[in-house]
């Protein structure tokens, strides 16, 4: 009922983030599955960065930095799972560790971005 005056006028009708959330996820999945670090890291950064940007845009947070840090923590946990899997069930020819490292590196980049962002950027405008 958007012709009516009301709430709808305040909704943003466009957002650049969803496209990149949806692009980051498959890139990251392919990267992790086929053990291609460039794709894992890039895809995860794209995915988590877009999620953080969207969280900020939607008004759930004032800045994206905390969301980035939260994503980084989750990625560390996921990477840790891969290390655990290697320690427990490591089999010949299956590179759990390399995949885990890719995820951890992506988390590290995000954490770095989060710290730098919250220290150096003080305007509440988007990145």
């Amino acid at each position: 009922m958007d012709e009516n005056p009301g709430l709808s006028e305040q909704y943003r009708m466009a957002s650049p983030w969803p496209l990149f959330v949806a692009l980051g996820l498959p890139i990251a999945e392919i990267g992790i599955l086929f053990d291609i670090p460039a794709l894992s890291i890039g895809g995860l950064i794209l995915f988590c960065g877009s999620v953080a940007g969207m969280v900020q845009e939607a008004g759930y947070a004032r800045t994206p930095w905390r969301a980035l840090a939260a994503c980084a923590v989750l990625l560390f946990a996921l990477g840790g799972l891969f290390f655990y899997a290697d320690a427990q069930f490591g089999a010949e020819g299956i590179r759990f560790v390399a995949r885990g490292w890719a995820i951890v590196v992506a988390g590290g980049v995000l954490l770095f971005g989060s710290v730098v962002g919250s220290l150096l950027v003080d305007e509440p405008e988007p990145v």
């Binding site: 009922m1 009516n4 005056p5 009301g6 709430l7």
Partner: protein, 124 residues
């Protein structure tokens, strides 16, 4: 909510789901009474479960949806499908007594404003 929700009308509407319930119940009874393949704990318990779980969930959902639908029928105006927001749409017979479109009754301010513009437009 003094109105009785599960009256004759509602029960009649619900018969449509009572029939599959009956079919499942019938087969459950049949398989319990006549056990063509004997009793073994695992498969027989699974067999009962495969009947009972759908039976119970369907009965529950039918009850809840019947309560939601019949309940809002009793308390508000009832329109034909897709017409609740059409200005001047006629109501179903056994709905509320008033013939006035429900939009005008909406409570808060912006709804009033909305219905106002709608009515002026409809009057054009």
């Amino acid at each position: 909510m003094a109105v009785k929700i599960f009256d004759r009308e509602t029960i009649l509407d619900l018969t449509v789901n009572i029939i599959p319930l009956f079919i499942i119940g019938f087969f459950l009874g049949l398989f319990l009474l006549y056990q063509a393949w004997g009793w073994d704990t695992l498969p027989s318990v699974l067999m009962i479960g495969l009947h009972v779980v759908p039976l119970v969930t369907l009965a529950l959902l039918t009850y809840l949806s019947g309560k939601a639908i019949a309940g809002s029928e009793k308390t508000g105006d009832v329109f034909h499908q897709g017409q609740a927001l059409v200005p001047g749409a006629s109501e179903k017979e056994h709905g509320g007594a008033e013939a006035e479109p429900a939009i005008a009754e909406a409570g808060d301010e912006d709804e009033d404003e909305e219905s106002g513009t709608e009515e002026t437009r409809a009057a054009e």
